[in-house]
């Protein structure tokens, strides 16, 4: 007997195929092109080579940029995660006056004012503070941009952890600090790790902020350094760009896989087993 759902399934495949192709082909290009002898904008592997990678590693700016990116991203992760953790804990557990107003102001301003629109004032702010062309300026600006999102997700996650665990720990004789370190942090570690990862990918991939705030090539992170691989007349060196982009995406994918493996993305839900 024919499955009556077959027709609709075929139709949906036909509709979905181009959409899938749209998303898959850039990734395919990124995997194939760096290893190609004659790299082009088409997905075609004509002879295998590692020459493109060799050229990247010989380029001082390119290698430096990885170090810069790492410094910036790790600093942002540490700063944002720590601050968001402490702030979200208070916002989730203490009911003080004006808490909700504060929260909604944060949402409003962080979502209404997009990064690009705020670029000029941010530039002026950094200029006045003497932070132009410093990593610190980039770190602080990126942190400020990501903080509200991180804070919200973390607060929501904390809200989902029942308070009774902390109360039980208090009655069991813990001091408030013991409750924090023995009960609350272990319970929320997954959420914190997810946030740290999110912050990492965001700051790792951000182009605009370092592009606007940094002047000297030696300080560029990867996202900006990739723009130096154009010849004087503006012709892109596709071999180097693709090899570099390939290396650039590796840490993010690696982080994802590692954390997926280690923690999975399941949170502790309710209490009943």
């Amino acid at each position: 007997m024919r499955d009556p759902r077959r027709a609709s399934r075929i139709v949906s495949y036909i509709l979905l195929a181009p959409i899938a192709a749209f998303f898959v082909s850039p990734i395919l290009w990124l995997i194939v092109t760096p290893f190609s002898i004659r790299p082009s904008l088409f997905i075609s592997l004509n002879g295998f080579t590692l020459n493109n990678f060799a050229r990247v590693f010989q380029n001082r700016t390119a290698v430096n940029a990885f170090r810069n990116s790492l410094i910036i991203s790790v600093s942002v992760v540490v700063l944002v995660t720590t601050c968001a953790l402490l702030a979200a804990y208070v916002l989730s557990r203490q009911d003080f006056k004006g808490r909700n107003v504060l929260l909604y102001m944060l949402v409003l301003f962080s979502s209404v004012v997009s990064g690009a629109a705020a670029m000029v004032p941010i530039f002026i702010l950094n200029l006045r503070l003497g932070l132009i062309n410093t990593e610190l300026g980039v770190i602080l600006t990126l942190s400020g941009g990501i903080m509200p999102t991180a804070l919200f997700i973390l607060k929501d996650f904390f809200d989902s952890i029942p308070r009774t665990y902390e109360e039980a720990a208090l009655v069991d004789g813990s001091s408030p600090l013991q409750v924090m370190f023995r009960i609350f942090l272990p319970l929320s570690s997954k959420g914190v790790i997810v946030i740290a990862m999110l912050v990492f990918t965001q700051s790792w991939s951000n182009f605009l902020v370092p592009f606007v705030l940094l002047r000297s090539t030696s300080k560029y992170p990867v996202s900006v350094a990739i723009y130096t691989f154009f010849s004087e007349v503006g012709v892109p060196d596709i071999g180097m760009i693709s090899a570099y982009a390939f290396l650039y995406t590796l840490p993010v994918i690696f982080a994802y896989v590692l954390i997926e493996r280690k923690f999975g993305f399941s949170f502790y839900g309710g209490i009943k087993g």
């Binding site: 009774t164 665990y165 039980a168 720990a169 009655v171 069991d172 813990s174 001091s175 013991q178 009943k272």
Partner: protein, 357 residues
Amino acid sequence: MSWIVLENVTKRFSNVVAVNEVNLQIERQDFFTLLGPSGCGKTTTLRLIAGLEFPDEGKIYIAGRDVTMELPKNRNVAMVFQNYALYPHMTVRENIAYPLFVRKVPKKEIERKVAFVAESLQISDLLERYPQQISGGQQQRVALARAVIQTPNVFLLDEPLSNLDAKLRIEARSFLKRLSMELGTSVVYVTHDQSEAMALSTKIAVMNQGHVLQVGTPRLIYDTPANTFVASFIGNPPMNIVECRFDGSTCVLDGQRIDLSDLPLSEFPKERGFIGIRPENIAFHTKEGDLIGEVYVVEPLGFETVVTVKVNTSSLRVLVFEDVPYKSGDKIFLKLRKDKLHVFDESGARIRRRDEA
């Protein structure tokens, strides 16, 4: 001084008064139950004793010490939560050991005590599992173990049976009663289930809307409820309470007159009032009785039968311990046991008998 004393304790949440000038004295050997409908302030009272909430007014003493503003860890109390609150990132062993661990008890002693407590609560073979991997009944035992391993001044139990299914609940109830006798210190127990309260307690405090309405032994509360609320809250099926008009010592219920002049009451209500009688204190009669009514429904429950009888506009429940030959619509006489009949005044307060202490 009693072991635990609450003195004029009031707790407000923004505009709501959760606990209103509550006074309680709990003795060391008491199994003390706070009983009331949801939202009556019983859990808040428990949390005040635990130190999870602080009172707005009043004082709390535990073991002769004023602990009103002390943190929970300085009160030496143990609590079992309604949902057990077993730490999901710790094994059963670590859960049970936690109260001793944070008090920096030597490792050797913790091990010895965990083994002993686990043995006596029959959870020794679960020690290496995580709370999510054991059943509800087992979780409850682990939560009890975590409380029992401490030597607290008082055990606080917040509806510990309500998450169990009906059959397990009866089992756990007997187990809890047995356990409480061995604990050697007072237990404060919160429940909304009157049968649990009756079965377990040495003393019950009935609460409603933040007030304590009556404190006493289960027997006292069952036999002489302070008012219509307590009367209708305790007992299953609940006490029949019907409004009626008083004409001297005669009660007029929908036109039918009941002579109550034999009752040794200190006084009778002036005009309006209530009479209350438990379903087991009404008997059927075919020829004569205090009231005449019409059988509305008959509910046979095996051992007992509950018959609802309409007396004009009011309805009365009758509990008999044999099968009844009646069916809906039958006219029937009701005989009330006058010595078990309660009279409440217009405000709902019970009128005392002269022979009561």
